[in-house]
């Protein structure tokens, strides 16, 4: 490392600490302050560390609403991601392996899904007709519909790297189409599947707009909706508001620590042109 690289690094680190780290430290500090100190909104060392008490206060607010929110968000995330993996891989597989004019149609749908903003009110109208509006399962299916394009694109480009000989060997071994897919192809998709699980779970867990439209109602709250609603509820209790932000920030942080590599792979996959 040259002197120049060393000093540039030091300066860049200091600047990055101020710009990117201070807001997070501010969240952490405010989350453990008492109500009075938090209301100053300043960036100071906490006089008291009320981590546990603030945590309990936030969790018990409005009859344990935050726990319900975590429960709902988890169900939506797990359900939607599971379907995105399975359905996305199946479409990507057929799209990559079978050449026909239907491919153009499917590919057009994928691009439409990536670009077109969802038409919200007509979607609510359709969901009401199907009895899916204001239901957790409706929300799961919405996330699947909106996330499919990305999954299909990622799977399609990965499946292109799996030699077709494997499918053919399995056919000769007597595997039916579904068996080829489940027993040969799907296990080989593991790297991209892990990436998709991580990236899509974070996206769905952090989603605010879609639950706002399609999942109104107290019994259906999600983590992001709760946080948004607490903004007015806790307008005088910033310590609790920031404790809530801290709780919402921790899951992606944990995921990031464990799956750094996969997240980077998934996010940069967008750079590889479809």
């Amino acid at each position: 490392m040259t002197r120049r690289q060393y000093w540039t690094g030091i300066i860049a680190t200091v600047v990055a600490l101020v710009i990117f780290v201070v807001p997070f430290v501010f969240i952490a500090f405010t989350a453990v302050k008492d109500k009075a100190q938090a209301s100053h909104l300043d960036f100071t060392w906490p006089l008291q560390f009320l981590f546990w008490q603030n945590l309990v206060d936030v969790v018990t607010t409005r009859n344990y609403m935050l726990l319900l929110a975590y429960f709902n968000s988890s169900i939506i995330t797990v359900g939607a991601v599971a379907m995105l993996i399975l359905f996305g891989a199946m479409v990507g597989y057929v799209l990559q392996r079978r050449q026909s004019r239907w491919n153009q149609v499917i590919f057009g749908c994928v691009l439409a899904g990536l670009i077109i903003p969802p038409a919200v009110v007509p979607t609510i109208w359709v969901m009401q007709g199907l009895g899916l509006f204001k239901t957790i399962w409706g929300m799961v299916l919405i996330q699947v519909a909106y996330g499919l394009a990305f999954s299909v694109l990622l799977y399609r480009s990965f499946i292109a790297t799996i030699p077709r000989d494997l499918d053919e060997a399995a056919r000769i071994d007597g595997a039916k189409p579904l068996q080829i897919f489940l027993r040969v192809i799907l296990p080989l998709l593991k790297p991209v599947t892990v990436t998709l699980i991580v990236v899509q779970s974070i996206a769905i867990f952090n989603d605010f707009t879609n639950p706002l439209y399609y999942l109104p109602g107290k019994e259906n709250v999600t983590v992001q909706l709760t946080l948004f609603n607490f903004q007015s509820q806790f307008s005088t209790q910033f310590n609790l508001l920031f404790m809530n932000i801290l709780l919402v920030t921790i899951p992606p942080l944990i995921v990031f620590i464990f799956f750094n590599r996969q997240i980077v792979a998934g996010m940069t996959a967008g750079a590889v042109k479809g």
């Binding site: 540039t8 300043d42 199946m90 479409v91 079978r98 952090n206 903004q231 910033f238 942080l253």
Partner: protein, 289 residues
């Protein structure tokens, strides 16, 4: 002797589950929006009123302002993310001290809840008590009302959007830079190119695929953006930071479903008229290379 007919090992029913969900919850509403945007609609009965919704959209000042703001916000966030993303990526691939730590720090905000970020920065941008203005006061400057000044609010939100999103642009650029063979830089150095010349003559042209991705992704994101604006200003003060997506939500809340849907159609047309020619142009340029 019986001769069974062979079937494709890649049957189309594999597409079926995905297709059912996608068609009912995405395609059908999208197509239906074209009709409902021409109606006065309360979710149960829709009466045809021609282009009235669109006329209203383009005649009411707060609605046209939303359209303007959408374009300003998208272009601004996209441009700044592209420029800062590339500069950061060059910096973070130059082998400086603490490089991997810096990459992590720059990228982490991408993963954090937008609502959480929005609330945090709303507090940090508080006109008197917020860290922004307290910091400025410390060096003798009088900070503005970041979110309370109607002429500034949209730009303040765009600044936070840059903070949250620049990590993704950086990451895509880092991947793009990694794909450039070091041979080009060595050849340029042998030809006597300075660092600045290397950046403009080698890096910028050869990293173009990443630039296309960053611009396209951030433009689409910017044009559709809602949650950060909603968490920070709710379109205020007044209508000064409203964008199409927040207008759509406000009209929906107010029960003007036809008008809200017309907003959706306008957003769709806006995105298409910006993204499609852009993609076409980028593709053509790429062939030239």
């Amino acid at each position: 002797m019986r001769c069974p007919v062979q079937r494709s090992p890649y049957p189309y029913w594999f597409v079926l589950p995905a297709a059912v969900v996608f068609v009912t919850l995405f395609l059908v509403p999208t197509v239906a929006s074209l009709w409902f945007s021409l109606t006065r609609w309360d979710l149960y009965t829709a009466s045809y009123i021609g282009l009235d919704n669109f006329r209203q959209f383009f005649s009411e000042q707060n609605l046209t302002l939303g359209l303007m703001n959408t374009v300003i916000y998208a272009v601004l966030t996209s441009a700044t993310k592209t420029v800062f993303g590339l500069l950061l990526a060059v910096l973070l691939t130059s082998g400086i001290w603490g490089q991997s730590f810096l990459r992590t720090v720059v990228f982490f905000p991408v993963l954090v809840s937008t609502i959480g970020v929005g609330i945090t920065f709303t507090v940090l941008m508080h006109p008197t008590k917020g860290l922004f203005n307290v910091g400025l006061a410390a060096i003798g400057l009088h900070g503005p009302g970041w979110l309370t000044d109607a002429s500034l609010a949209l730009y303040s939100v765009a600044l936070v959007d840059l903070w949250k999103g620049v990590g993704l642009a950086t990451l895509i650029y880092i991947a793009g830079l990694a794909a450039i063979s070091p041979d080009y830089y060595e050849a340029a150095r042998i030809d006597g190119a300075t660092r600045v010349q290397q950046f403009w003559r080698v890096t910028v042209p050869l990293v173009q695929p990443a630039t296309v991705t960053v611009i396209t992704l951030s433009l689409i994101g910017g044009l559709r953006s809602f949650d950060l604006i909603w968490a920070m200003t709710k379109g205020g003060p007044g209508f000064s930071s409203d964008v199409l997506a927040s207008v759509i939500y406000k009209q929906y809340q107010a029960g003007f479903y036809g008008l809200s849907t017309a907003g959706n159609v306008i957003l769709f047309v806006l995105i298409a008229t910006i993204i499609l020619p852009l993609t076409w142009w980028f593709n053509r340029k790429e062939v030239d290379l």
